[in-house]
Subunit: 405 residues, 2 copies
Amino acid sequence: MAGSTAPRTSQPLDTEAMLSVSSRHAKSSAIRDLLVHAKRPGVISLAGGLPAADLFPTERLAGMTTSIVSDPRVLQYGLTEGEVDLREWVAAHHSQLGGPSYAVDDVQIVSGSQQGLDLISRVLLDPGDVVVVADPEYLGAIGAFRQRQVDLVSIPVDAYGIDVPVLEDRLSKGLRPKCVYLIPEFHNPTGTSISIDRLTMLARLSDEYGFLVIEDNPYGQLRFDGDPVPSLASLTANVVQCRTISKTIAPGLRVAWMVGPAWLIDAVRIAKQSADLHTSTVTQRMALSIMSDDEWYAAHIAGLVPHYRERRDALSEALSQMLPEARFNRPSGGMFLWVELGDGPDTNKLLPLALDEGVAFVPGAAFAVSRAADQAMRLSYSTATPETLTEGVARLSIAIRKSVR
Amino acid sequence: MAGSTAPRTSQPLDTEAMLSVSSRHAKSSAIRDLLVHAKRPGVISLAGGLPAADLFPTERLAGMTTSIVSDPRVLQYGLTEGEVDLREWVAAHHSQLGGPSYAVDDVQIVSGSQQGLDLISRVLLDPGDVVVVADPEYLGAIGAFRQRQVDLVSIPVDAYGIDVPVLEDRLSKGLRPKCVYLIPEFHNPTGTSISIDRLTMLARLSDEYGFLVIEDNPYGQLRFDGDPVPSLASLTANVVQCRTISKTIAPGLRVAWMVGPAWLIDAVRIAKQSADLHTSTVTQRMALSIMSDDEWYAAHIAGLVPHYRERRDALSEALSQMLPEARFNRPSGGMFLWVELGDGPDTNKLLPLALDEGVAFVPGAAFAVSRAADQAMRLSYSTATPETLTEGVARLSIAIRKSVR
């Protein structure tokens, strides 16, 4: 067993690692190999997908854990569906968000949203089923769906989110999806949010054609400007909502949840039991302790927003000044900015040049489903200071000038 | 969504809950419905499958968590394969157990052994594959295998563990399993351990016929008498070992690991990334902090043994005195004792009578794969005091007398 020479470990979990999920694509694999260099000292990485660790409520979490872990019941096997108190909090929270009034049994705790997507895929999807995704799309979702050998149908995204009129056209021509995957706010990788008109249209279509919408909203609480997008659950019953604490509290706890129709949640519960029995009771109680202090938690979220907003502003500003040919929509929240270089360089070929200049990004091709995105790139502003972001764009700009020579 | 009237929550995770995994069997479903009553006040439950919460190292875990959680890196996304330090500890530990010398990359951290079984099933098994299990067998494993639509082939168990000569005979007649599932020590539900002769024979057969052995050993450290069973890994390379902290530290942390051949571990790693990205870094570091203090950890394990041994002794003693017709092998470790009543009552029919007397057990039928176990029952001594165990057997004895009248 010992003695294999090729490195078998993954990179720290990040965009780089997620790329291996879709590694059947030669392009993704090549990108992954290159992005290993994003970890080189001195390289400014705009490639990552991590929240900022300096914004975690570390002190508060550290201060509460001794009392949580002092209760042996917290260390014992727990319920597959998750801790009752936490599910009560989630049910009340989602009931307040608009839509139906949820009961504790409508909630399933999962070990991160990724597990939610995996379990939904396992109970809902059979080989050959049609799943609609945006194009480009979040790699973790693509990976969960692909392992069920589904037929992925991709719909373009623009400044108003996934192009629901295009979906309607496809439906009218006979497309019959089992589900549609939706990141409603601050989509990864494009940073866009769905418009109310399109959301309403999607709800109507889900009723008319009987498909489920998987509403995955990890970034919604990190909103800098404008009004929140209402949950699709206020418009149709054909929706399962996935939410996580990974972007607002800490991903290392691996706590997230799903809220949805009984037929789905009950099936997911059985699958979860076979998958890992239950999510850690210790980390569930840590999450609950943070969130159930309403006043503190609201202040914590409100405190995160200016930091991420400042970083978004710095990156947007630098792009406008130093790369005037770049087209991008300034995201109203979240962690990502999608840049299109028009008839600029192929970003797959640009990446090694950029690494030479000391900056990393993820080429659009990594997120492409069926449409080429070879002139696009995803930039993350979540973990860098404004100064670093500006310097990163300066380096990127040099790389682009060199590439078009 | 609200308004469903039937209860949809599971029982506290326990034998009762695990039964739902195999709920396609009408018998298991009936047993599950009855075992809900094991939670009634005043009922002595010998039905549970939980470790004793009063034996968890609660104080030590509580004392260390503040410093663990104070490091924001522990709260960030982690590696899919698990924390490097923890995998180093595991690799060194398993190298010491005999067998090959393991490297850090041979180790995959999982969220409990159940996830290990689930991930192995997902990457290894296709519909129609043959999987060999003992009969009776642990329900969680059966559940993980069944979801892959495999052909389960069961081999009887006796006082020397799974009957490998019977397996050899089946192999010689053409049986070609993809894997064999083995709980080598203190098997759940029978409490038996495999003999060295049979273990050696199984290793030889795995080499000859090219099947993988899944060696799942959650109870091995809870040994009261006799010598440990060596790992199959000291005899063949066709083995993946699953170990957990659930029975010796605390199940609520959800930390376990797999050690095995690169082709399997690498595939599991990719599946794990899609399944839940990674196991909680917080609970991994808690497990490591406990285990890496060699002296303290050895003393902790040594301290657990007398408690469980005393309970095993009390239950065995009471059975010998009050139910002389009961046949059982006094287990040398673990948490379970398997009782056969010979031509006594059908234990499925006995259960409601026993509940009326205030004692619960799990009828053998719950664990039966293809052989009837209707005169058998599984008794757990892990969580009750010696006095309670004695009283439980007294009540059981009354129920049996009433049933044969």
